[in-house]
């Protein structure tokens, strides 16, 4: 790795931390980003000679803050912002962990403020907390770079012009606001699920950050556990050709045992806390799957019980659909199909895929083929589509 690439890696890792502190100092996200990027330019010049400092985050924050102060002093006209003026002139002390942790929380909640559109929340989170560049985020969401740049500019402008406050929400608002943050991270994870490992890795990294900053929020731990357990199966879920392997067909020796162990440990921690929530329950469902040495050994009874819990807490047709898949294993495909047919999910590809599979198992191939067709028409992911096409072809050949 070149010196510059090494420095880039450090900045990427510390970007969120540095920006978080500087937003509080400067009261403005754009100024904070400029300051950090200035510091990066300085680092590229100096670190190859002086070496990487022992606390890169501290160096970046101190340097960025000093440069920002210099620039502000030079600029004669500047609108007064609600910056904490005292901090602007504070001595060069490295920031302590406590206040930095609070600043990172402030930054997360600001990026995921409900007044911002979901797409903007996602983009800001990846940018300010993930340290991804605009081109990287644009590529991740298959959106032209100027569009993504606009999205970020508009979001930051709204934060500034509408004056979204830079703070951790008060206790009464926290549960809902935390839900919003988790939804953004899970969205990023799902975006990366169908093959884009880097996005999943970023979501997991954000999940770990949230768990570090909010260790007492059970749903935060639940989401991290859920993502780890799903990610653990990736090596078995995808063939080298990019084909999809269903859970029931996966070679479980390929599962990442470390991620499973970590995920299950988190699930146990959540169970002890006994403050269940949707992410925790979904994590527990995945933990039951991870426990089974073979597909046949899966404890479907336990999974069904967990889906029953999920239907109480977060009822939705999609949850009912997934529950029906468990019912198929405990009570048979006929009962499951009756449950599925009662759902209003005509626009959802998985609905038709599940119907198709149940019809196939019930020995109704014509209807199954029709259902596979419906699923194929709605499926965007190429690997999923290829899998469904294979299933349909198998039935048509018989």
């Amino acid at each position: 790795m070149t010196a510059k690439a090494g420095i880039e890696a450090v900045f990427r890792a510390e970007y969120g931390r540095a920006v978080a502190v500087l937003v509080r100092f400067l009261g403005d996200i754009d100024l904070a980003e400029e300051a950090v990027q200035d510091a990066f330019a300085t680092a590229v010049r100096k670190w190859p000679e002086t070496g990487v400092p022992p606390s890169p985050a501290g160096w970046i924050i101190t340097t960025a803050r000093n440069r920002a102060v210099d620039r502000l002093r030079r600029e004669s006209t500047r609108e007064a912002r609600h910056a904490e003026a005292v901090q602007l002139y504070a001595p060069d002390a490295p920031p302590e962990e406590g206040p930095v942790r609070d600043d990172r929380l402030r930054l997360i909640f600001t990026c995921c403020h409900p007044a911002l559109a979901t797409q903007a929340q996602v983009a800001l989170t990846l940018r300010l907390l993930g340290g991804l560049t605009t081109p990287q985020i644009a590529r991740a969401f298959l959106v032209p770079e100027p569009t993504m740049a606009q999205r970020l500019v508009r979001a930051k402008a709204k934060i500034r012009d509408a004056r979204i406050p830079y703070r951790v929400p008060r206790d009464a608002d926290l549960p809902e606001r935390v839900r919003g943050v988790l939804a953004v991270v899970y969205l990023i994870f799902n975006e990366g699920y169908g093959g884009r490992e880097d996005l999943c890795a970023e979501a997991v990294r954000l999940g770990r950050l949230l768990a570090e900053l909010m260790p007492d929020e059970p749903e935060v731990l639940g989401l991290l556990a859920l993502m780890l357990l799903i990610e653990a199966r990736r090596p078995a879920r995808e063939t080298p050709d990019g084909d999809l392997v269903l859970l029931s067909d996966q070679d479980r020796r390929l599962w990442d045992r470390d991620l499973i162990a970590e995920g299950q440990s988190l699930v146990r921690r959540c169970l002890r806390r006994n403050q269940p929530g949707p992410y925790q329950i979904q994590a527990a469902i995945n933990a039951v799957h991870s426990d089974a040495p073979t597909a046949a050994a899966t404890d479907w009874g336990q999974i069904l019980a967990l889906y029953d819990q999920l239907m109480v807490r977060a009822p939705s047709p999609v949850v009912a659909l997934n529950r029906a898949v468990a019912v198929a294993e405990t009570e048979g495909p006929r009962t499951a199909l009756a449950l599925v047919d009662a759902l209003d999910l005509d626009g959802y590809h998985a609905f038709h895929a599940v119907r198709a599979d149940l019809l196939r198992r019930l020995g109704r191939p014509t209807e199954a083929v029709a259902a596979y067709e419906a699923a194929i028409a709605l499926t965007e992911n190429p690997a999923e589509r290829a899998h469904l096409e294979r299933r349909r072809t198998e039935l048509q050949v018989e």
């Binding site: 007044a115 012009d161 509408a162 004056r163 979204i164 406050p165 703070r167 929400p169």
Partner: protein
Amino acid sequence: MKHYLLSVMQPVGEPPAPEVLQGIMHNLDVFHAELKEAGAWVFAGGLHGPETATVLRADKGDVLITDGPYTESKEYLGGICLIKAPDLDAALEWGRKATVATTLPIEVRPFMGEAED
């Protein structure tokens, strides 16, 4: 401090029944009293419908006056409430109360610049 505009988005159509309307007016009175007590009140009022409006347009030295505007919109500005608040979260708290009081959608928009404290 910043000024924010809370706009009541009134749907086109028949007004609600008198008893319902009375309830809403009472809720609004309570809401306005809360605003005043908190020092957040700047101004508020209900607007007559768009059919009572007049539009003036400057055009090459002339000023044209028309009855209108008659846009085909499904909703129109029913009333406004100007408030003073330290940040968007505070403004949204008032917006939340306003939408509950009026049962109508409320748009919260910031004014440019600073308000005096």
